[in-house]
Amino acid sequence: MSVIFKRPEALLDVPTHYCPGCTHGIIHRLIAEAIDDLGILDKTIGVAPVGCSVLAYDYFACDMFQAAHGRAPAVATGIKRAVPSSVVFTYQGDGDLAAIGTSEIIHAATRGEKLTSIFVNNCIYGMTGGQMAPTTLPGQITETSPYGRDTSTAGYPIRVSEMIATLDGACYVERVSVDNVKNIMKAKNAIKKAFQNQIDGKGFSMVEVLSTCPTNWGLSPSEALKWLRENMMPYYTLGVKKDITEEVE
């Protein structure tokens, strides 16, 4: 009997704390599969954020850091500069990366740090219980936008991938989704490419993954996937925002 499906080596055999229907689990697996496929478990170092995925350090089998809120790209920079032969990735949510950590992600990207950032966007602060994030859509109801995000007082959502794509130091930026099998396969390829670029010594790579938060959106897991498709995808369009992989030496 041959094994056709198993847990990736880069993912530990431990239960996760994620809510039912949350897509963090899928994204963790895709990262772990990429690490396995590229054979880099021995030299990979991950940086977990503050937010729902803070405990990611307990789930990946590689060496891990837990960073202060928003500081993962700075922590990753320190790691990579100290051990240039390592493969360093940050795993960050939208509160962490797009609000408190905006400065760190922009400057890591513009310096062309040879890092891989996986940016999980679910339009909300999950761990603190569903408050408005910089990525919360206009009109979206959250705990701190109870009447719906009013752009006249709370401004507009940030399209992080498009913003990072404007920076010369960024090598590869793509927005993907994990709402169906086809998109999951695409997300896997994007994540793998973002790691491969780092192995090849190319510049900063980021993959933004559209993700769901059934608990804080107040929807069932399947309704949440539908909500992602109908509301997030029109605002946060999928696709490659920048790719100069071929041009970079």
Binding site: C62, D63, M64, T77, G78, V83, S86, S103, E104, H107
Partner: protein, 357 residues
Amino acid sequence: MNKRVLMKGNEAIGEAAIKSGCQCFFGYPITPQTEVAAYLSKRMPKVGGTFLQAESEIAAINMVYGCAGTGTRCMTSSSSPGISLKAEGISYISAGELPCVIINIVRGGPGLGGIQPAQSDYFQATKGGGHGDYKMPVYAPASIQEMVDLIGDAFDLADIYRTPCMIMGDGMLGQMMEPVEFKERKMRELPSKEEWKAAGLQGRKKHNIINTLFLKPEELEKHNIKLQKKYKEIEKEEVKYEEYKCERDNDLIIVAYGTTSRICKNVIKEAEEEGLKLGLIRPITLWPFPKESFKDTLSKTKHGYLTVEMSCGQMVEDVRLSVEGMKPVAFYGRVGGMVPHKEDILQKVREILGGEK
């Protein structure tokens, strides 16, 4: 034989760091410490090290967190307002038990304050500028030579106890030039970092995690108790101070550190001419504070102690805690970048002694 060279304090810090095996420096410009970064931007690439100018002090200290977590000797430097920004990171580095050296070339505050020398960050440095129950060893050199010597000590101490260690000099020490010799120095016996560093598995079976989160109260309490045990050990083993003319029966003992202590030594010389006998206690470690020096000198000072600082009165609180009300403790301070003049200190001494010898 090593040569004595004339060097600016901030540049000497950079050179001493390299000679102490510092491999990575992460900094951000702020007066009056910017020459540390400028010097290392020139030297680090020549010695195969890393110099990186971060986007902020916050990013710089978090780069230190990452770098130190891989077991690499690293340093950052800043001045007062910048250290406030680093405070979050220092708390994390203490919690994560990561060795690194932090330079603070202190300027006057609060707020943006000024750019002239001050000692008003004593509380921030010794009482925990960031959140949580942590302590950080703080060295306070009084000359550029001593600052250079202490940098090697700071890196060793950081490695031995897995803690951030601060060198705190006032703006004067950063900016002035003095002859300095980079002496051959024997490293202390250092523990291996293999057990905890997170630099990639490289064949290791279990992953290492650099972490400061303990969600279970029992575990967080246990972690705090572990840290406190380490701090007790540091208090026992690492106190450094100088006693100057304290062995005799004095009229008064002055307590001062850094540049201020040098002015006070001159005060003591001048006071001799008036027939006043003064001693000086100069803490070299601000934390751990040299409490024992006060027990030793309590019976040798008729009028107690006078603490002189470039602050509104910060170290004086530790002096009072050490003296435990057994003798009077007076205070004289100048602030805002004003440096105390020896005549003013002498006048304060005369006031305390009330003409009585």
